[in-house]
Subunit: 296 residues, 2 copies
Amino acid sequence: MAPDFRAALVAAADAVDTALERVLPKPGGAHARVHEAMRYAVFAGGKRLRPFLVLQSASLFAVEPEQAVRAAAAIEALHTYSLVHDDLPCMDDDDLRRGRPTTHRAFDEATAVLAGDALLTVAFEILADDATHDQAAVRCRLVRELATAAGSNGMVGGQMIDMLAPDKTFGADDVMNLQRLKTGALFEFCCVAGAILGQAGAEHEARLRDYARDIGLTFQITDDLLDVLGSAEKTGKAVGKDQDQGKATLVSLWGVDAARGKAETLARRAAQTLAPYGPAAAALQALPAFLLDRDS
Amino acid sequence: MAPDFRAALVAAADAVDTALERVLPKPGGAHARVHEAMRYAVFAGGKRLRPFLVLQSASLFAVEPEQAVRAAAAIEALHTYSLVHDDLPCMDDDDLRRGRPTTHRAFDEATAVLAGDALLTVAFEILADDATHDQAAVRCRLVRELATAAGSNGMVGGQMIDMLAPDKTFGADDVMNLQRLKTGALFEFCCVAGAILGQAGAEHEARLRDYARDIGLTFQITDDLLDVLGSAEKTGKAVGKDQDQGKATLVSLWGVDAARGKAETLARRAAQTLAPYGPAAAALQALPAFLLDRDS
């Protein structure tokens, strides 16, 4: 893997962690427990892929770093909320996340629901906070786009389908629709956020959306491959769950080799989509190969 | 009760219901179930007190009705999310709400969590949607204020304390702190939203916050009185729960008569606070008496 890519990923994680440390509420008051649960869930050593996408896409359009880091922190808070709620007993009922007890196991179910609610809420607060009059229109658009990507016709809709899926016979189109909603919409937001912040216009937004769709599906296929081929030790969560639950995935539908081949094709296309940006897009272009090679 | 007040309350309910019908997603796609649950929770015949507060406060400052109704719809979506999540088995574990099965009873727990998440998300989408460039700064501020009122140092923080409360010996100050967070912060947002939309300035905002604090506490005391004195038939939910759970309330701490006396004092002060607005504030001034007299 290109050392520049690794450096960019680490830099994004550092920048967003510093910002989250600052903007998340400090534990305090009779309700400090919910602040502690929010921080437990957020500071769990995630890869910070989504902040990386925001910061790198913003760097293509000369966005002020402070603005980009703010959007990245918002998206990571929102992403963390989705993990906390998805892990709940009434949802995926997971005990482990990134190798540690899930939030409802480390605290309790009520606290996990509330911490998730608060992380979703604070994401919008971060996006809307400290906006100058000139920035307000762009911030408003980010709020709207993030809400659309995360809401009932985006991430939440995808999780709804996922909850219903075991009852149904899903084909590849159904699985891709599920992926597009559950994880794809948020990847799209991350990639387009830089273009929105940089007021780059529709052509650039469309290009970054194309890239986001390809890496989103690459991410999902490699996630499914890890569920089949990975180890709980490396992935930090239970493996073989999809198979155990009889869930259709692109790997179960296409087979391991064909699914991997498809992911490789998507990864190549994603990198090519960003060719017009030249070397400035090198880290984004290296991401698909990283997704293919990851073991967690 | 003044007939004008009743008419204003019904008009607010009609206006916000029409808006919610338009802005909430129509059930569709493989994830239609979450849309259905959102609508089930929202269209349950609530009094629409919070939209009334938004519309009436907006009317003091010549806000365009369309802008005020938008904010009212957002707050009602957000309020509904809080009811859906508060009713969950891991929270208050309620089977009835407004005389009907709660959302997790009518659907299931996962769907209720997701419908709540989606209603919280759509509240911010509604606030940020269709904003002209001129409106963007005001909309941004509404997003920030709503997120602050609803988040971990507002409504969610209050619910966290409520979940912990049975373990503790609460005094009146603790109960009032809980109320201020759990329900007061959102009442404040509703009342100040009109002043924000009308760009009325700090003095008007402070006055409406004073009013909101008094009616918020009036509302809480009368809610506690209904829990002690009301009937399940009229309130549409279980009564006697606080007592059964040994929860401290202002009624249990002060006694029925003193609590009622305090609520009456607050109600009078709330009405007087708005005297500077003359007859334009008549409906807002009639609200405290309505809260005192309600039986549900």
